[in-house]
Amino acid sequence: MPVLRSTAGLVAVFLVAPLAQAQDCNRQVFEPCQACHALAPGGPQKPGPHLAGLIGRKVAGDQAFDYSPALRAARDKGDVWTKERLDAFLSDTEAMYPGGWMGSPPIRDAKQRADLLCVLGTP
């Protein structure tokens, strides 16, 4: 897992902050993600896996989705989506798991990633 750099302070906040409430999150940041991902299991098939309960879930943990070999290998070695790991992943998906199928560009804005993590970490 890549070492977090400028996001160290952000991670510290995650470690001590209680789970955010849904209404506290800036849900607008998740809109582009919704073209491929649902926040709840079930429903119509989307191009990517659902993200329900993502924080704490195994990497490549949607059993209904066939993942890239890169993500399956991460699951096989026991990787779990912690907030820290997800933050690093969103900052450059290709750097963390080269060859992953998701084609999203790096999210360099730490605030944007924090907002996304808020949405993804909200039950």
């Binding site: 607008q28 809109e31 582009p32 919704q34 073209a35 491929c36 119509p44 098939q45 989307k46 191009p47 066939d66 890239s68 070999p69 890169a70 450059d92 290709e94 080269p98 060859g99 992953g100 199928w101 084609g103 560009p105 790096p106 360099r108």
Partner: protein
């Protein structure tokens, strides 16, 4: 609800600061497979080389989505010119316009970009409607010189280069508009990945007419026309390539080889051969509609992830986004 936005932008729109090109050179490796020559150009680490467009002079544009650049590869000597597109840039699609310039769906800045063919000056036109991040995807010119584009955030739009007038509309079924294509008859079609449909755009009004593919939830990702105006569609969820003939409204579909194919992109070449990419097989796949057979060209590196293909007569080109390489396939000469 259908939303319509109209704005005539001032001349020049948003011009990016100064042109910066960094000379570089891409090493090329050549191998042979199935009677074809495969060339891979190691372009630039960290670029995330993805969509490509071929110029008439033999050079090839490609998007560096990961580092916000548009790049020009000269396959003859591996020469590379790098054009930064601006702060926060993340270009997705590129085509060569009727003016010879590169036109780009510049998703990072929610803009349409033009990179001049001669001086590589960058111009940007921000979307003037739709979501603040439309997730711009793919673009095509019609025969009148109007640029049509899609955004996965749920929009389609058009831009008139002469007047700099842009219009953006909400797409039916919301999220998903992805690949877009022009037929020889002059019609414009797009597909919706999340919406699972093909649609023809009325070029006068911008209104789409949905044509439902026969396979439910198929995940239509990209579309390309053959010389007869038949639409070829890569289906991500079903792992099929499908073909729709607007002349008789017929459909046919073929499953790609392998256990669980994931058909990402489609390109139809000058001989009407259909070039596909399959993420599960980590391969470019050539489909011959006459014999209905597939020939596979697996990458020699894992996680190649070719997300789009294009070409010129006799050559099929793609970007290996996962390996930062550009790949070209052509038939070996006897």
């Amino acid at each position: 609800m259908r939303r319509r936005h109209l704005l005539a932008l001032s001349a020049g729109a948003l011009a990016a600061p100064a042109l910066i090109t960094r000379p570089a050179r891409a090493a090329v490796e050549t191998r042979e497979l199935n009677g074809y020559r495969i060339r891979t150009f190691n372009v630039r680490a960290g670029s995330g080389s993805r969509d490509v467009a071929c110029n008439a002079d033999g050079t090839v544009w490609f998007c560096g989505q990961r580092d916000g650049t548009l790049n020009l590869l000269d396959p003859r000597d591996g020469g590379l010119k790098v054009v930064p597109l601006g702060q926060g840039a993340a270009p997705h699609g590129v085509i060569v316009g009727p003016d010879g310039a590169a036109w780009v769906t510049e998703g990072g800045q929610n803009s349409i970009a033009r990179v001049d063919a001669k001086d590589h000056r960058v111009q940007l036109w921000k979307l003037n409607g739709g979501p603040s991040n439309a997730n711009l995807n793919t673009l095509v010119f019609d025969k009148q010189g109007t640029l049509w584009f899609t955004g996965q955030g749920g929009v389609i739009g058009r831009f008139e280069p002469k007047t700099e007038k842009m219009q953006v509309w909400d797409a039916p079924k919301g999220y998903g508009p992805y690949g877009i294509a022009l037929t020889p008859q002059g019609t414009i079609w797009y597909v919706s990945l999340a919406g699972n449909y093909l649609a023809q755009i009325d070029t006068a009004t911008g209104k789409p007419r949905i044509v439902e593919p026969p396979t439910p939830q198929q995940g239509a990702r990209r579309v390309w026309s053959d010389s007869q105006g038949r639409l070829w569609i890569s289906e991500w969820n079903s792992g099929q390539v499908s073909m729709h003939d607007p002349k008789d409204a017929s459909w046919k579909q073929w499953k790609l080889p392998g256990e669980r194919p994931r058909c990402y992109s489609v390109y139809v070449d000058d001989r009407d051969a259909v070039w596909l990419t399959d993420f599960s097989a980590n391969a470019i796949v050539r489909f011959d509609p006459r014999t209905e057979t597939f020939v596979s060209f697996p990458s020699d590196k894992s996680g190649a992830n070719v997300r789009q293909m294009a070409g010129r007569p006799g050559e099929a080109w793609g970007g290996e986004s996962g390996t930062n390489r550009i790949v070209a396939i052509d038939k070996l000469q006897a």
